[in-house]
């Protein structure tokens, strides 16, 4: 079963990247990347540092522009039109390694800003939604605190709740646990696992292989801007085909 990942039906793809090339100046950061993500699918993206994982997911919500190829998110073709970018960003949530909570806003204020400005929700609606998601990431009691008053793990859970408040169709995670003290990794991963169980479509850049085994439908391995391997977690961890993937897994396992 490992080798027989049928190519996803493009009609069912929530995210579709075809022939995407990206250069930073003369540096070729993404090399004809093809990636289809179905609704409800959970993807774990891994690979050595500098392989283009962040660049890839940042192209999905247009934090990076591409020079070549086609990216379609929820039926919206990302081009240079501001409307397309706006529409895509409304449907795509993102969680960063460094949390990026707004330091001058309380937890609740962090969560209601975008729903009020972008979705034009009333304050009451936005607060109700925010409290729902803050409770869901089990941080409801901290709603009145400022980010600096929370631990890293708590901040990252708030960041997840903040993204969920926009009720996105897909969530992108860029190494959400890499900046955390080890004892806080679990609370964030548990939150993500909960989200996965609720059926969220997720693209996660992470080296947490336990998480990958538990929730990923597919693991995608990148190196030097290329997707070198796509497999089920089982197949990827048991019998990685590409030599670079084998070397990478060797290193990861040596560290754990």
């Amino acid at each position: 079963m490992s080798a027989s990942l049928s190519p996803p039906d493009p009609g069912d793809a929530l995210i579709s990247m075809t022939g995407v090339d990206k250069w930073y100046g003369s540096f070729h950061a993404l090399k004809s990347v093809d990636l289809q993500v179905r609704r409800g699918e959970k993807i774990v993206l891994c690979g050595p540092s500098g392989s283009g994982k962040s660049t890839l997911i940042r192209c999905i919500n247009r934090l990076e522009t591409v020079q070549q190829g086609r990216i379609v998110v929820d039926g919206i073709a990302l081009d240079d039109s501001a409307q397309a970018v706006d529409a895509v960003r409304r449907e795509v949530g993102m969680v960063f390694q460094s949390f990026n909570l707004f330091p001058h806003k309380t937890v609740l204020e962090n969560c209601i800003l975008a729903p009020m400005r972008v979705r034009k929700a009333s304050r009451a609606e936005a607060e109700a939604t925010a409290r729902t998601y803050l409770d869901r990431v089990r941080i409801g009691e901290q709603a009145g605190k400022y980010p600096a008053q929370l631990s890293g793990g708590q901040q990252q859970r708030v960041a997840i709740a903040r993204a969920l408040c926009m009720e996105p169709k897909v969530m992108l995670f860029d190494e959400p646990t890499s900046a955390l003290d080890p004892e806080m990794v679990k609370e964030v991963l548990d939150t993500m696992i909960g989200l996965a169980r609720d059926g969220m479509t997720m693209v996660c850049v992470t080296h947490e292989m336990g998480f990958a085994r538990q929730v990923a439908d597919r693991v995608i391995f990148m190196a030097e801007g290329e997707i070198l391997e796509e497999a089920t977690p089982d197949a990827f961890f048991r019998t990685p085909r590409h030599p670079r993937a084998r070397a990478f897994l060797g290193e990861i396992l040596a560290h754990h």
Binding site: L63, D86, R89, F96, S98, H104, A114, Y146, Q149, A163
Partner: protein, 222 residues
């Protein structure tokens, strides 16, 4: 040669001097409001997608920062009537102070914007906020917080610069002092007294800014 002090004229004119202080504070406060608006607006325009607007801001800052304030205030005083706008000295002084302070504020606030981590902007954009909203709701407050001490210094400077508005006879402390001096010839006593009054005014402005910092920028940071 001995000089005998006589504070009589100063004492007699003290109510006028106090009104002069009020005039100075009014010029300063109005100038600061305009300067802050120009500072924030200028920084926003400086990253406008329209090149002409960006160049306009850069040119404005260069012109103001490389010419004397006295010349600027004369320019506004004599140029506005040519453009058909005849204003009394005090509004003229406020405009000149606002333009001058605004140019410096642009440079200071720009530094603050540069100090806000890129991730903050990205988080705002990823949430779907437009660039304008990211500036207004995400970047501005931390940026102002980062440069608030410099901004305070600049606005104390603006307060003291109001003194130059005496050149066009705007109503403020130095103008009042000149009148008393012209009538009494008690130069040392008059200027000694307003030196102390300016010190007091500066201190007051600094306290007000400290209060503002406490009110708006005291959110905890790591």
């Amino acid at each position: 040669m001995s000089y005998s002090l006589d504070f009589g004229p100063v004492l007699a004119g003290f109510p006028d001097l106090l009104r002069g202080c009020a005039g100075t504070l009014f010029l300063a406060a109005a100038g600061m409001v305009i300067a802050l608006a120009i500072g924030i607006g200028g920084v926003a325009l400086r990253s406008s997608p329209v090149p002409a607007l960006r160049w306009l801001v850069i040119a404005f800052v260069e012109v103001i920062r490389n010419t004397p304030f006295l010349v600027q205030i004369y320019f506004v005083f004599f140029a506005l009537p040519l453009a058909g706008l005849r204003l009394p000295p005090t509004p003229t002084a406020i405009i000149a102070l606002g333009l001058n302070g605004g140019a410096y504020a642009i440079e200071i606030i720009r530094g603050g914007v540069g100090a806000v981590p890129k991730g903050q902007v990205e988080a705002g954009l990823a949430l779907g906020l437009h660039k304008r909203d990211v500036f207004r709701f995400v970047v501005l407050r931390p940026a102002l917080r980062a440069v608030f001490p410099s901004l305070t210094g600049q606005f104390v400077m603006l307060t003291l610069t109001t003194s130059i508005a005496s050149a066009i006879a705007a109503y403020e402390l130095t103008s009042v002092a000149k009148l008393i001096e012209n009538e009494s010839f008690r130069s040392f006593e008059v200027y000694g007294t307003i030196t102390l009054l300016y010190l007091l005014i500066s201190w007051l402005v600094m306290r007000l800014f400290a209060l503002m910092a406490w009110r708006y920028f005291s959110y905890p940071v790591k």
